[in-house]
């Protein structure tokens, strides 16, 4: 069993960290994991994406064309990745930053106003956590407790005081379910 997740958005939206959390949590659960960024000569505000794979066996390619799930945090990411979700796969979108609906009908779509939820919780930078919570509630790849634990261990020291808020963001996201 192998599950691939691409997280895509603007640099600064926590795209890379979101993917790393999946990898750390997978590692703690005894799984094989890879995390690979689409690195480039980029900076804050540019596009960013990463692929995280969690698997029961040795992982072959670290990149896949048709992943099981994609989190699109903005419009350019939706445009780029909508067609790449594996048929039957899961597409989680940050509807707070979208001005069009998702077109595909052969996949499971979850529209989460994650930016607004994060802002309501007190910090827009937690948008990635809301979306990650929504992903995990709809894709049984890892238990929420593994992500919470990974967050506890790997959130930088200077942000540790934000831990309860981040847990809250994950749980708010997890309330969203695909119809």
């Amino acid at each position: 069993m192998q599950t691939e997740v691409i997280i895509a958005g603007f640099g600064g939206q926590g795209v890379l960290f979101g993917g790393q959390l999946l990898a750390y949590a997978g590692l703690d659960e005894g799984k094989h994991v890879t995390w690979i960024p689409a690195y480039g000569p980029e900076m804050r505000g540019g596009t960013a994406n990463c692929t995280a794979i969690v698997s029961d066996e040795e992982i072959g390619s670290p990149l896949v064309r048709y992943p099981a799930a994609i989190i699109a945090m903005n419009r350019p990411s939706l445009d780029k990745y909508e067609n790449q979700v594996k048929p039957g796969g899961l597409l989680v979108v940050n509807s707070s930053m979208l001005d069009r609906p998702v077109k595909r009908t052969d996949i499971r779509v979850l529209e989460v106003d994650a930016g607004d939820v994060a802002e309501r919780l007190g910090d827009k930078r937690m948008t990635n956590m809301v979306l990650l919570g929504a992903l995990l509630a709809n894709l049984p790849v890892l238990p929420m407790s593994a992500i919470e634990n990974a967050l506890k261990v790997h959130l930088p020291e200077r942000h540790q005081r934000l831990l309860p808020k981040n847990f809250e963001a994950l749980r708010e996201g997890a309330k969203y379910k695909v119809n």
Binding site: L27, V33, T34, W35, Y39, E58, G60, S61, L63, V64
Partner: protein
């Protein structure tokens, strides 16, 4: 030992530290920079030497000097930076010194780009600097193997007074994976009888790559060759997947092999009897594995991220016996497993011509697609 999640470049750096590297000299270049950055923090912490040189030329010549002392030393760079180092590499080979060179390959030629590629195969395996020397070239395909082969690289460098290249790419360097680090090794305290560390109380030693007498230079070349014969006899490493009953073989190294593994698994799931051979030492090349392939093997697919550099070695190794096809992406484009699966289907479903070169057929297909 506990498993941790590490980036390939940083894992190589920490593995080198634990293998007892005493000095590191380098110059930043993407996608290798995390290695240098990690060393800049870690080496001073341990009281070891880190120098960011003024250029790659400076770095490799500092390595040259450090290697003369017999202590473990290394540098790392990425393709264009390695090109700059090659004069020094040849001098180090000519002085018969051990060193470890990490090349995190990127797209080229020229300045190219910073995406993963495998186009330095020929440079590292078949040449690079001038003169008749060989480097041991190790090609990891994961973060864990990057660690293991880094440690091995230092051991082999010492054992054969050889340059050992760890040949990775931007993908393996930037990727994070679960890994276990080896224990910290004590630093070397015994040194070979050629090492120069001050000659007080003993006869002086002389290390150089200049040999004005051709007969003496010929002797030196014989020495290199003698060591190389030993390397070829003892140090070949490779990995096989699903080869027991394979009627078709896919082969590639490093990143290509991993991508091919995904495709091979998918093909197996469809009932195609296909296996995978992954050379771990590109030099010495595992010639025998290809030479000994059974006549039951009906076809072979070589997958690379270059225009068929290892392809030539694979074909020569099996003496052009097994019908071969080729597939590649170039310039920093990384192939997806489904592209390789498509090539496996082609190999299985259509007869493989033997009167033309696999590269020519592959390139004709690429051009026909437009």
């Amino acid at each position: 030992m506990s498993r941790e999640l590490m980036k390939g470049n940083e894992a190589v750096a920490e593995a080198a530290v634990r293998a007892g590297v005493v000095s590191y000299f380098g110059y930043p270049i993407t996608p290798q920079t995390e290695l240098l950055e990690y060393m800049s923090r870690r080496m001073p912490e341990l009281g070891r030497a880190f120098v960011q040189a003024e250029s790659e030329l400076g770095a490799i010549n500092m390595v040259y000097g450090a290697a003369c002392t017999g202590h473990r030393t290394m540098t790392s760079s990425s393709s264009p930076g390695v090109s700059l180092m090659l004069e020094g590499v040849s001098y180090i080979a000519g002085t018969e010194l051990p060193m470890v060179l990490v090349n995190v390959m990127r797209g080229g030629p020229g300045l190219g780009n910073i995406a993963p590629a495998q186009s330095d195969y020929n440079q590292m395996v078949h040449g690079g600097g001038h003169g008749d020397y060989r480097c041991i070239v190790l090609a990891p395909c994961s973060v864990q193997e990057s660690i293991d082969l880094t440690v091995l690289a230092f051991d082999l460098a010492d054992k054969y007074r050889s340059i050992v290249v760890l040949l990775t790419d931007g993908s393996i360097g930037q990727m994070m994976e679960a890994c276990e680090l080896p224990p910290m090794q004590p630093l070397k305290t015994k040194f070979a009888d050629w090492a120069v560390q001050g000659a007080e109380g003993r006869e002086r030693r002389f290390l150089t790559s200049i040999n004005l007498d051709p007969a003496a230079q010929e002797e030196m070349n014989y020495r290199l060759l003698k060591r190389w014969v030993e390397v070829e006899a003892n140090e070949v490493r490779y990995q096989e997947y699903f080869m027991e009953d394979a009627e078709y073989v896919v082969t590639g190294f490093g990143s290509s092999a991993r991508i091919a593994l995904s495709a091979v698994r998918a093909a197996r799931a469809e009932g195609i009897k296909v296996g995978l051979i992954r050379p771990i030492t590109l030099s010495p090349f595992p010639k025998q594995v290809y030479a000994n392939l059974s006549d039951k093997v009906k076809g072979m697919l070589v997958v690379e991220m270059n225009a068929g550099q290892m392809l030539e070695d694979v074909m020569a190794a099996n003496r052009y016996r097994i019908p071969t096809e080729f597939f590649a992406r170039l310039g920093g484009v990384v192939p997806f497993p489904d592209e390789v699966l498509e090539e496996i289907h082609r190999m299985v479903e259509t007869p493989i011509p033997t009167d033309s070169h696999p590269r020519d057929r592959w390139f004709a297909r690429v051009m026909a697609k437009g």
